[in-house]
Each structure stands twice: as structure tokens, then as C-alpha cells.
Amino acid sequence: MIIEKVTEIIVNIAHCKAEDVKPEKELSALGLTSLDTITMLFELEEAFDIDIPNELIPSIVTVGDILEKLEGVKQPA
């Protein structure tokens, strides 16, 4: 469920193919600009009802980094 929601959010923002959204893939390689990434973080916070601190942003490079940060959070509404 989490990977599906993350994929949906990234696809909506980057207009990439869902099958390209893989854990090892870098967000920039999917077409996300820095502003897109900020928008993605907003959508993730909304979907999972979490707060992603600014300090974590530099460590979010790949799709897998997002999934790692989301480990243990509740399923999206």
C-alpha cells in the first residue's frame, strides 16, 4: 500500500511511468526538480499524516529513501 501511494504521488508530479518508480531510482532521474520534490513531500505528509523534518530532505535521494522514512507509519487514508 505504501509503495503504491508513493508511486502514485511521484507519477502525478513527475509524469513518469509507474513501472519506472523503483526503490533504487533517483528522484531527479524520474524528472523531479527541487520544487517538485518539495511538492512531493507535501503530498506525502498529507497522505500519511506525518511531518517530514527539513533535516531529512538531503538524505532523500532515491525512491527507496522515501520508503525507508515511511517505515512504520500508518497506511495512507
Binding site: H15, L35, I38, T39, L41, F42, E45, E46
Partner: protein, 404 residues
């Protein structure tokens, strides 16, 4: 490089009268009003009338990605700017556009974006604001958007002086060309004020009519809001001639004053001085002027004060002038009105047709000029002025004449 002549070579207009300058001009000639009963998903407002862009579908003009960072007021600015630049024959001319200016006026800026976020935060109690709220809603967004969409890389900024914003932006462009800073300026204004907060705020001022806008009439009952954008391409005469551009008119002068008085009540002295300064700057005597596109909001005090100012400046010639308010057709689109009105004035001069003051019933006894009631008039126009008198006592008058 100083005091170069400035000409108007491109026009763009999106308003309640339609999506381009052709619709705009055809409606003005026909005396057709865009004022209609408001049909908005907004409850609990007293205002019942408005002039919105008809059947506006932003997806026809922009991609989903582009729309994600375009407030409605930026959308309107880009559409009108694109039309004006195309009309001037400059679309895709990167060598010229890269040095051009984009100076856009706005009375209220990106209010759709701001209010949507405030609604989410204050009313819906959402925890966070959308991250694009700032770049989409910032007051300067329209200039940035016009710059990005058209490849304009010279000076670009938004200028605010309420209902005179468009005139001040146009004057700024004119002066930058006159002084040799730039050769080409894309100038005008955009406003999209149909938001819950703005409509409630205009309700509160009690200057909005709920029957219609009837400038200069004895039974006038206030203004009616509109939305839109008017954009002009200004060029140095030399630049326009060199590339064989069509020239609509020459922009010859401006008058700018401030009332330093009341925040809403117009001041006869400030208005009179602005008109006098525009004539002086243009090298006009009062007798030279054929047409005035009035500020003409349809409020009791504006129309009486503006009429008195025109009588003071033009004396016996005042009765020979054609004085019309096109706001009764495109509505009062705040800062954008002054730009739409210079587009109207330019087309009036270019075609030799004076757009009427529509919805005209009976003239107020203190409004004693020729307001060209209800029907357009064929008349050769050699020189014209466009008046804009904003809240806060910020006055701007632009003088244009036939190019020869």
C-alpha cells in the same frame, strides 16, 4: 538615446468581452456589455453582478504542469501578453524578446491562490499549506510568468497602484524606452478579483451596484467588478520602423499625481493636475484632444469629480470632447481596467470609432459632457487621453496620438 519616440505596435486583451482583442473591440463597437448575473460557487455575498471572462477554460491555454504554478491573474496576463506579442509580430523572436521588459500592473495579485490556502488553513483546519502557494500567489508572479512563457529576459516586475496599476506600468515602460534603457516593453495589467474574500470586501465598501454600471447617469448606483488583462507592446519608433512594424499610435505623454488626501475619496486637484501634466508632457493644448477614455467607475463621487476636472482643464473645449467610460462594458477589472482602457483608446484612435458609454439613461445634472451614450460614434481622433484615478489618490493619465 534620450527622449526617443514611443509607439504602440501590439495589443492583447482578455476580459468579460471575450478572450482576445478582436472580441474586445467588436463588443466595444457594438456597445455590448459583459456584465451579467454572477454564477459563482460562492455563497453569502451581496454582490450579484460581474464581468467574468466567458467560458474560460484555462486548460486550452496551459498544460497541467504550467497551471500548477499559475494563479488565475497570471494566466490572464500570459494570455493577453502572448496575444500582444503575436500581434506585434514578435512571437518567437528571441533576439528581440531577450532584451525586452515585462512590466505588469495588478490591483490585487494572486488572490485566488492566497485565499485557497487560507481557506484550507483557517476554515478546513488543514495542518500545512501547499508548497506552491508562495511562487503562485506572490504579487510579482504575473511578471515572472509572462517572462517565462515568452522568453522575455530584460527588466520584469509587477507594479501596484490599485486601479491605476495598468497605467503606471505602461508609463514605466514608455519612460524606459524614452530614456534608452530598452527598445521594447510588454506592458499592461491583470486582475482576477472574483474570490470570496475580495467579493466580501468589495461588498463592505458599499460602492458596488446590484443593478448595473451606469457611468455619469443621474441614477448611477456604483461600479461592477470585472476581470481580465490588457497588454500592449511598446517600442521605440526607430526599432519599430527598422523592422517594419505596424504602428497603432504614438504614446506621447503622461501625467502622474497623488492626492495626499483621502484613501478612497477622489480629489479634484489631484485629478486636474494629472490631466494637465499629461497634456503638457504630450505637448498638447486642450483643444488638440478629441477623445477621453474616462475613469468613469459609475460611483456618485468619481463621475462628478472627473467631470468637474475635465471641465476645469478643457474649459470651453470640454463640450467638444467625446468622453466615454468603457467600464460599463468590461466592468471594473481594477488594475487591469486601466490597461484594457488604453487598449480601447488605442483601437478607437486607430479605427476612428469611439466606443460608447452603455447602460446610459439620463445624464446627471453635474455630469454635463458628451458621454457618447449607448452607441458608438464614427469620429476621426487625432489625440486622446486615458484617465485612471485609483483608491489611495494615485492618479495616472496617458496621452496618445496618431502616428505620423
Amino acid at each position: 538615446m534620450k527622449n526617443r519616440r514611443v509607439v504602440i505596435t501590439g495589443l492583447g486583451a482578455i476580459s468579460g468581452l471575450g478572450i482576445n482583442a478582436e472580441y474586445f473591440w467588436n463588443a466595444l463597437k457594438a456597445g455590448r456589455t459583459a456584465i451579467k448575473t454572477l454564477d459563482l460557487p460562492i455563497e453569502n455575498i451581496k454582490m450579484s453582478l460581474g464581468a467574468l471572462v466567458p467560458n474560460f477554460d484555462e486548460k486550452k491555454y496551459f498544460t497541467v504542469d504550467e497551471l500548477s504554478i499559475l494563479d488565475r491573474y497570471s494566466q490572464l496576463a500570459v494570455i493577453a501578453a502572448r496575444e500582444a506579442v503575436n500581434d506585434a509580430g514578435l512571437i518567437g523572436n528571441s533576439s528581440i524578446l531577450q532584451d525586452a521588459a515585462a512590466i505588469i500592473g495588478s490591483g490585487c495579485g494572486g488572490k485566488h491562490t492566497d485565499e485557497a490556502t487560507y481557506d484550507q488553513l483557517y476554515k478546513q483546519k488543514r495542518k500545512r499549506a501547499h508548497p506552491l502557494t508562495i511562487p503562485k500567489g506572490m504579487p510579482s508572479a504575473a511578471a515572472s510568468s509572462v517572462s517565462m512563457h515568452l522568453g522575455i529576459k530584460g527588466p520584469a516586475f509587477v507594479l501596484a497602484s490599485a486601479c491605476a496599476s495598468g497605467s503606471h506600468a505602461i508609463i514605466q515602460g514608455m519612460m524606459m524606452i524614452q530614456s534608452g534603457v530598452i527598445d521594447v516593453a510588454i506592458v499592461g495589467a491583470s486582475d482576477a478579483p472574483f474570490t470570496y474574500g475580495l467579493l466580501k470586501s468589495w461588498d463592505a465598501l458599499r460602492v458596488v451596484s446590484n443593478d448595473t454600471c451606469r457611468p455619469f447617469c443621474a441614477d448611477r448606483s456604483g461600479l461592477v467588478l470585472g476581470e481580465g488583462a490588457g497588454i500592449l507592446v511598446l517600442e521605440s519608433e526607430t526599432h519599430a520602423m527598422k523592422r517594419g512594424a505596424r504602428i497603432y499610435a504614438e504614446m506621447v505623454g503622461c501625467g502622474m499625481t497623488s492626492d495626499a488626501g483621502h484613501i478612497t475619496r477622489p480629489d479634484i486637484s489631484g485629478i486636474t493636475r494629472a490631466i494637465e501634466k499629461a497634456l503638457h508632457h504630450a505637448g498638447f493644448s486642450p483643444n488638440d484632444v478629441d477623445y477621453i477614455n474616462a475613469h468613469g467607475t459609475g460611483t456618485i463621487i468619481n463621475d462628478a469629480t472627473e467631470t468637474e476636472a475635465i471641465n476645469r482643464v478643457f474649459c470651453h473645449h470640454a463640450k467638444n470632447l467625446a468622453v466615454t467610460s468603457t467600464k460599463a462594458m468590461h466592468g471594473h477589472a481594477l488594475g487591469a481596467s486601466s490597461a484594457l482602457e488604453l487598449v480601447a483608446t488605442t483601437l478607437a484612435l486607430h479605427h476612428g470609432i469611439i466606443p460608447p458609454t452603455v447602460n446610459f439613461t439620463v445624464a446627471d445634472e453635474v455630469c454635463d459632457l458628451d458621454y457618447v451614450p449607448n452607441e458608438a460614434r464614427v469620429k476621426n481622433i487625432n489625440a486622446a487621453i486615458s484617465n485612471s484615478f485609483a483608491f489611495g489618490g494615485l492618479n495616472a493619465v496617458i496621452a496618445i496620438k496618431k502616428y505620423n
